[in-house]
């Protein structure tokens, strides 16, 4: 400092401005260094983002493809309808275990017809090629329309997860010596059947819209039902957290006197926003399930827990949005004779709406990705299996949520579930991205600057 004043006041400048002295050079160099550091920091951030996205997409993209087998299944009446009366109650007695050998035999016939050369000559040898879900698929078709018994019907059934993994390049011949779920001879047959068009890959709609499946049939598992669970939870959060949060913020911001009590409330709200989400899970278990006796594993309870978690976020962002409306708007409204409530609801609130909506959507996005509190209220496990019976039933029938389903899949033994976990992450990211884009558009479109 003192150096600089001496320089200016004491001696006249002897050097040209175009000629940088050592100190200026140092200052410029340090500025350059700082800029480089900043660019480096952004670069590292971007690199991690790229690594993350590449990993997710490369691991998860295959989940959207699935291998199918086209089989004409002969539905023999001798086995499926022993009494021959086509009575639905009697037809139900033929369980999936009755249908299984039927499908295996049909596939064997199809193999022989296709001219494939193989040593596999028994119907049981076909078991490892097709998914265990095939029996249930055929049985459902028969129960829906008993008249197809006795005929041959073309079915597009799922291939087993090992066959699917083989065609996706995850299963190799030299690694399956100890695998009892597939043999080399079966893989040779798969190659021939693929050339014959009996086995082919297709887009995996069941992954997006289907239900979770048990450990023995990874190929059938889908994220659809848990997506529905997430949807119901978000609905509960939106319906509860938005009005409660907005009402609380309007009162605190516009009406409440500034005193110790409101200060205390304010501090508490800020603190609540930082409480770990698992705490809300324990609270939900104690209050909603053990005390209020609401059903376990229900999206209603999940939504209530996430509402508690999201409320502080919504209140804080709403208050910020209300604060951003200039006092002159309020003064003008009051000046022409509006009541306080009229000034708030007619003038302040509409102007603050873009900010409120943005905060709400970001709060919802946060709640959508939350798993920890759901662990404690029974929403993680083999749960997302039944689609709800109706709109209202969806709130209380057991369900999971997208992040919980992903977590569950990542734990399971069959590598095909691992692929689905990554695929689920892609879908979840698309949802989050969509919500954030909506928030940005709303802000851009309706925001007003003063």
């Amino acid at each position: 400092m003192s150096d600089a004043t001496q320089h200016g006041a004491g001696q006249p400048a002897t050097r040209s401005l175009h000629h940088l002295d050592a100190r200026t050079k140092r200052r410029n160099a340090s500025e350059k260094r700082f800029k480089a550091l900043g660019i480096g920091a952004i670069g590292i951030g971007l690199a991690f983002l790229v690594i993350l996205l590449v990993t997710i997409v490369s691991n998860g993209a295959t989940a959207f493809q699935q291998t199918f087998v086209e089989v004409p299944v002969y539905l023999g009446a001798a086995k499926l309808d022993k009494k021959g009366n086509r009575d639905p109650e009697d037809l139900k007695k033929a369980t999936t275990f009755t249908y299984k050998p039927l499908i295996e035999q049909s596939l064997l016939d199809a193999v022989e017809k296709s001219g494939a050369t193989t040593d596999l000559a028994k119907a049981k040898d076909m078991k490892n090629l097709i998914s265990a879900s095939a029996a249930s698929q055929v049985r459902d078709a028969v129960l829906a329309d008993p008249s197809i018994i006795g005929t041959t019907v073309d079915f597009k059934i799922l291939a087993s997860s090992r066959v699917d993994s083989y065609l996706k390049g995850r299963v190799h011949r030299d690694e399956i010596a100890k695998d009892k779920n597939i043999t080399v001879a079966q893989l040779d047959l798969v190659d021939q059947l693929r050339d014959a068009g009996i086995i082919h890959k297709g887009f995996n709609w069941a992954f997006i819209f289907g239900a979770d499946a048990s450990d023995s049939r990874a190929e059938q598992a889908g994220i659809g039902i848990s997506m529905l669970g997430s949807f119901y939870m978000m609905l509960v959060v939106l319906v509860l957290a938005l009005p409660i949060g907005v009402a609380a913020s309007i009162y605190l911001e516009e009406f409440a006197p500034k005193n110790r009590i409101t200060d205390l409330i304010e501090v508490n709200i800020s603190n609540l926003a930082a409480v770990p989400s698992i705490v809300f899970g324990i609270l939900g278990l104690a209050v909603f399930i053990q005390f209020a006796h609401l059903p376990q594993s229900a999206p209603l309870v999940g939504g209530l827990v996430l509402t508690l978690m999201t409320l502080p976020t919504i209140i804080i962002s709403t208050r910020a949005a209300l604060k951003a409306v200039p006092p002159s708007i309020r003064d003008a409204a009051l000046g022409v004779g509006a009541s306080k409530m009229q000034s708030v609801f007619h003038h302040v609130l509409p102007l603050a709406m873009p900010g409120i909506l943005t905060g709400t959507i970001i709060g919802l996005a946060q709640a959508l990705g939350e798993t920890a509190p759901l662990l404690l209220i029974g929403m993680v496990g083999y749960i997302a299996t039944n689609s709800p019976d109706g709109f209202l039933d969806g709130f209380v029938s057991p369900n999971s949520a997208m992040p919980a389903q992903i977590y569950e899949w990542a734990k399971r033994a069959d590598p095909a579930f691992y692929e689905r976990a990554w695929g689920g992450i892609i879908i979840l990211l698309i949802f989050l991205l969509g919500m954030n884009i909506i928030a940005i558009i709303l802000r851009r479109k309706f925001e007003r600057r003063w």
Partner: protein, 346 residues
């Protein structure tokens, strides 16, 4: 204001549907993560073949499941607890205190516990319980003396084993698998090496010596895994010298990444476990609240379906997945059909 009215009525609808759905029509199951795959396979087939909704199966561990099971009777408690070990007397007492008195115990089969390492790692292909005890016990017998375990490499105590650092990933204490590991591997190894006798000779009674046998070294060579087998698999994947403890079913689904070790010369498989040759196995159970039969639709049918020949038999989907079928399945089927509770029948 309109939107507020809308919101208010929506809350009312939600609240009403919450109370209306009190009559639960799906079975709720929780417990052991080892039993979860089997229970989910059964639940799926049950939902397909019966008119009842698919049961809900949660995991969380045997102890956590039994704790929830014993919370009481009623629709907001679970109906079935899966366990990879037998229920303890203490848990039965807790259950009784909370009004859960009639408990049906159903054994579904046996599960093998295997030691496996990275497929391309050193040649860990033969262990005896003594090797595992020497590698992982807290105190071991060295030259006739009890010393703190200082072995750093496998070949230091058994020249047949590779010259590799000891690092093992074992199930954490919340897992039922840990108990089997302690009893059937560590304690057996302790006895075989003579360490147990030495413990007793040093003044411990039988019980204390048994406890000392099951203690695991804490210098970082034995790592507790509290998560699932996938976590153990990931740890082994990044550690060529690591050996891990897995369930047989998990290993069989990941034979492309894992190499299994024999125990006392026997290779683990459903056959060797069923015959009893492979020593490290344990029975799997589920427990049913009798009070819920008739209240929760389909509960008895679920229990019967679980132990039916089609499901739990040697050719059923559970055996296909890695469960070792129970040779006395017929007896279990009778017990379930007659709703035999613990302490009354057998």
């Amino acid at each position: 204001m309109k939107s507020f009215n809308l919101a208010a009525s929506a809350i009312a609808i939600v609240a009403a549907s919450g109370t209306a759905a009190f009559a639960r029509d799906n079975i709720q199951v929780a417990g052991s993560s080892t039993v979860l795959p089997y229970a989910s396979i059964v639940a799926e087939a049950f939902g397909e073949n019966f008119d009842y909704p698919t049961p809900v199966v949660e995991s969380g561990g045997s102890s956590a499941g039994l704790k929830r099971f014993c919370e009481g009777v009623g629709e907001n408690t679970i109906d079935v607890a899966n366990a990879s070990r037998k229920i303890k007397d203490k848990e039965v007492a807790t259950c009784a205190d909370n009004g859960v008195t009639d408990i049906m115990e159903v054994r579904i089969g046996y599960d093998g516990i295997v030691f496996a390492s990275q497929k391309d790692g050193p040649a860990f292909n033969a262990f005896t319980p003594s090797d595992i005890f020497n590698a992982l016990g807290a105190k071991v017998l060295k030259d006739g003396e009890i010393v703190d375990n200082g072995y750093a490499k496998w070949n230091e105590f058994n020249s047949d084993l590779p010259d590799a650092d000891i690092i093992a990933f074992i199930p954490g204490t919340k897992h039922g698998t840990r108990e089997v590991f302690e009893e059937k591997v560590l304690e057996a190894g302790c006895e075989a090496t003579g360490a147990k006798e030495a413990f007793i000779a040093s003044g411990m009674d039988e019980k204390a010596a048994g406890k000392a046998c099951m203690e695991v070294r804490t210098d970082g060579k034995a790592v507790d895994i509290d998560g699932d087998y996938t976590e153990t698999l990931a740890r082994i994947g990044s550690n060529p010298n690591g050996i891990g403890v897995f369930g047989l079913a998990f290993y069989e689904n990941n034979t492309d990444k894992l190499k299994v070790a024999t125990m006392s010369g026997v290779e683990p498989s459903t056959e060797t476990i069923a015959s009893g040759e492979y020593p490290v196995s344990r029975p799997l159970y589920f427990y049913v609240k009798k009070a819920h039969i008739g209240v929760i639709p389909g509960l008895k049918e679920y229990a019967e379906f679980f132990v039916s020949d089609e499901i739990a038999g040697p050719d059923g989907p559970l055996a296909q997945y890695g469960l070792v079928a129970d040779p006395e399945l017929a007896k279990t089927q009778d017990a379930v059909a007659n709703e035999v509770t613990m302490g009354s029948g057998s």
